[in-house]
Amino acid sequence: MRNILKQNLAKQVVHWLLLAVIVLYILTGFGITSYRAVEFLTFGLLTKPLAFKIHDDLIIPFVILIGLHIYQQARKPA
């Protein structure tokens, strides 16, 4: 019972983290290709260089999270 709860919690964490990374990935992508609009909409917070850095740095967390997500979904419940 406890194991199932732990597994569900881990699934939830990975799920939400993956979602956050995907959203950030898309936003920073816009921050590169449509930087004038994104800079305006974020009050100058998300500049093109910053968007580039975040976008580049997200690739490893994204690959890890997607791997974990697939593993959790494929695995049989305990």
């Binding site: 959203v23 290709t33 004038r36 500049t47 260089p49 580039f52």
Partner: protein, 227 residues
């Protein structure tokens, strides 16, 4: 809650798809003019396949600039013996013209190979007579954009300031009247709508993107972020 966030993600993805479809090929509001240019555009030169004038992505700081050729002036200022001011025709007709196929590599990941026609920046500098103290050439653009390159780079390489690409006059969105062809440098050094060339001794000068974290050397074989 999870459904709502998923819905937002889907909407964002659709929006991204629409933006790529509408702007990814470099087609902007001036579509009718672009169609006229296509018919005259050269797409192959001495065995080299050329990109199209439309293959660029529009990523300038204030959008395409429309410069009037009649009132346009190119100024050479700063650490020179003779400051110069040229009209558009004077720049083109009073200087030796050159053609060269050069590839522009953008930091965004796309690149275009174009046949550029223009004149050598060093020919313009020679007329203005650069003073020995000058170390940096600062390029100013019509939209306020600036970038800089070392004097040695300009003098030791045949760096063009182009007025034609693939056999057609630069369209406004590509930098009419002049675009710098900063070969072997990242795209942010390829300034469009050049209006002034300033000689300076300020080796710490940073242009628009360089002052925002991009490398000042901008060499293609190095990362474009300042280390």
């Amino acid at each position: 809650m999870a459904r709502m966030v998923t819905l937002i993600v889907v909407v964002l993805m659709i929006l991204q798809g629409i933006m790529i479809a509408t702007s990814g090929c470099g087609i902007d509001g001036n579509e009718s003019k672009a169609k006229e240019l296509k018919s005259a555009e050269i797409r192959e030169y001495q065995g080299v396949d050329l990109s199209s004038v439309d293959d660029f992505r529009e990523n300038s700081i204030k959008g395409p600039q429309h410069v009037d050729a009649g009132s346009y002036r190119l100024k050479i200022t700063g650490l020179v013996t003779n400051s110069k001011t040229y009209t558009y025709d004077e720049v083109i007709k009073n200087h030796q013209n050159y053609e060269k196929v050069v590839t522009l590599d953008c930091v965004e990941g796309w690149s275009v190979t174009i046949l550029w026609k223009g004149l050598l920046v060093k020919d313009l500098l020679a007329e203005a007579k650069v003073l020995p103290d000058a170390k940096v050439v600062i390029f100013h653009a019509y939209d306020g954009y600036t970038t800089s390159l070392p004097v040695d780079y300009i003098m030791q390489n045949n760096i063009l300031i182009a007025y034609m690409m693939n056999g057609v006059t630069l369209p406004p969105e590509r930098g009419f009247p002049f675009q710098l062809v900063a070969e072997s440098k990242w795209g942010y050094k390829w300034e469009k709508w050049v209006t002034q060339i300033e000689l300076s001794d300020d080796v710490n000068y940073r242009g628009y993107w360089e002052s925002r974290g991009y490398s000042n050397s901008a060499d293609l074989n190095e990362d474009f972020f300042e280390k």
